[in-house]
């Protein structure tokens, strides 16, 4: 039986790579890049991507009328937030002077800061860009991926869930930060699985095989 995964297209970033990566991850998956509420809610799995700034992201969700659709999808089926999509799953972001977000997972999205440094005192640049290791917290989406595997990140803000139980993975860049969040049927990653080679495809395959 073929399974349908909807990739929500609300105008925040190019979705070609995510769609292709999902197709590669699972040959049985029917990938639907769509802004149509009926098609999003008909899909068994939902991917909520995003790049750019959080104010634009929330604005697009409102203006396309997709905010309620995202909340409904997140309430009942396996749901994967990626990068800015994951940040939007939290309650509030410091970016753009402070923006209220979806509140699917309690917590705040914070700026790395301009005076970031590693343990040896070397200044660290922002954005955090490149391949960094992720320490996993046990979850089905990490199946077949070694703990400490590197994923591709590019971001200046990071999620800080209010409840440590919602952390599914951590990484380190001047500070330990949350690289993945999880709560019930929800999973969110700060990194880009669609740009993280084999490990990223494995995570997407795990998501498509997950019942939440």
């Amino acid at each position: 039986m073929s399974k349908t995964v909807a990739v929500i297209d609300y105008g925040m970033g190019n979705l070609h790579s995510i769609a292709k990566a999902l197709e590669h991850a699972d040959a049985d998956a029917r990938v639907d890049v769509t802004a149509d509420p009926a098609r999003i809610l008909a899909a068994g799995h939902v991917v909520f991507p995003g790049v750019g700034a959080i104010r634009d992201c929330m604005h697009e969700l409102e203006s396309t009328g997709l905010r309620e659709v995202v909340l409904r999808a997140a309430a009942e089926r396996p749901f994967l937030g990626i990068c800015l999509g994951m940040q939007a799953m939290l309650g509030h972001s410091e970016e753009n002077g402070g923006v209220a977000t979806l509140g699917l997972i309690p917590g705040e999205v914070r700026y790395f800061g301009d005076d970031l440094a590693d343990a040896g005192g070397t200044r660290l640049k922002v954005p955090h860009m490149g391949w960094n290791q992720v320490a996993q917290v046990t979850h089905p989406l990490w199946a077949g991926i070694d703990d400490g595997t590197r994923f591709y990140f590019v971001h200046s803000y990071y999620a800080d869930p209010g409840d440590a139980a919602h952390r599914a993975g951590t990484s380190e860049y001047g500070r330990v930060f949350t690289a993945a969040v999880a709560r019930d049927n929800l999973f969110g990653v700060q990194f880009h699985p669609e740009k993280s080679q084999k490990a990223g495809l494995q995570l997407l395959a795990n998501f498509l095989g997950w019942n939440g």
Binding site: H16, K20, K125, G130, W131, G148, R150, H192, G200
Partner: protein, 257 residues
């Protein structure tokens, strides 16, 4: 546990084929971009950069298709530079599957373009390429100037000041090419890379002059680069990306193996 330094093979693409200029002049054919990208991905390249050196706008459409094809089977970050002059050029490349675009002469012609691009698509996908030559005399404090048109046209712009301005306008990353070194195989201009890397708070990619694997190590350790870009040493099979990474790891540099 920390962020890895990146190795970025660069493919110069002319009308859909990978070529590499020596000092931006002589061109040798090195093959099919999709095939080469696939090979670099398998060898562990951290990203791939395409430099579209095509002159005509008809052939630019070819580049969009190249990006689409590569992005359909290679799942690492892809950057496209060359001929990016309008917001619409950026949109087309991102829609085709590119993650970042490199802006060069369009920024020199109109710096505000960088701000517009960053506001529209986010700083994370705006790489400003800075092609510079050393213009200070022997014994003077080093100074570099921006050159355009493949190094033929001086602009009078100081490269370090330019780098700071580009970051203020929204560049998320800077690709620094020493035009004195490009194609020479004698190594990066490390003073150039380090001076700018120490001055700005965005990642720096060193480019121009790589002839052996020690040059890559020097780029990171002495040039303070966050990523190193090279073309010919990889295309012509002198070294694999994997060998380059092992060499960097042996020198104590954190890489993704």
């Amino acid at each position: 546990m920390s962020l890895a330094k990146r190795i970025i093979p660069c493919l110069d693409v002319d009308n859909g084929r990978v070529v590499k200029g020596v000092n931006f002049v002589d061109i040798r054919d090195a093959g099919d971009p999709v095939e080469i990208a696939r090979r670099y991905d398998a060898e562990g390249a951290d990203e791939i950069t395409f430099l579209d050196i095509t002159a005509s706008s008809d052939d630019r459409e070819t580049m969009v298709h190249v990006v689409e094809q590569v992005a359909s089977e290679v799942f690492i970050p892809l950057t496209v530079g060359g001929g990016i002059r309008k917001v619409d050029d950026i949109r087309r490349m991102l829609n085709a599957g590119a993650d970042k675009v490199g802006i060069n002469s369009a920024a020199v012609a109109r710096p505000e373009f960088v701000r517009e691009a960053a506001e529209r698509f986010g700083s994370q996908c705006i790489v400003v390429s800075i092609d510079a030559k050393r213009v200070s005399a022997q014994g003077e404090a080093p100074r570099w100037e921006i050159f355009t048109h493949g190094g033929r046209k001086a602009t009078g712009i100081d490269a370090v000041e330019w780098a700071e301005r580009m970051v203020e306008l929204g560049a998320g990353e800077l690709l620094l090419t020493s035009m004195d070194r490009d194609g020479t195989k004698i190594g990066f201009d490390l003073d150039y890379t380090r001076t700018i890397s120490d001055r700005v708070n965005v990642p720096i990619i060193a480019s121009g002059g790589v002839g052996n694997l020690d040059h890559l190590v020097d780029g990171v350790i002495k040039g303070h680069a966050d990523a190193v870009l090279a073309a010919s040493i990889f295309h012509f099979g002198e070294y694999s990306v994997e060998e380059a990474k092992r060499h960097m790891a042996d020198a104590g540099i954190e890489v993704r193996l």
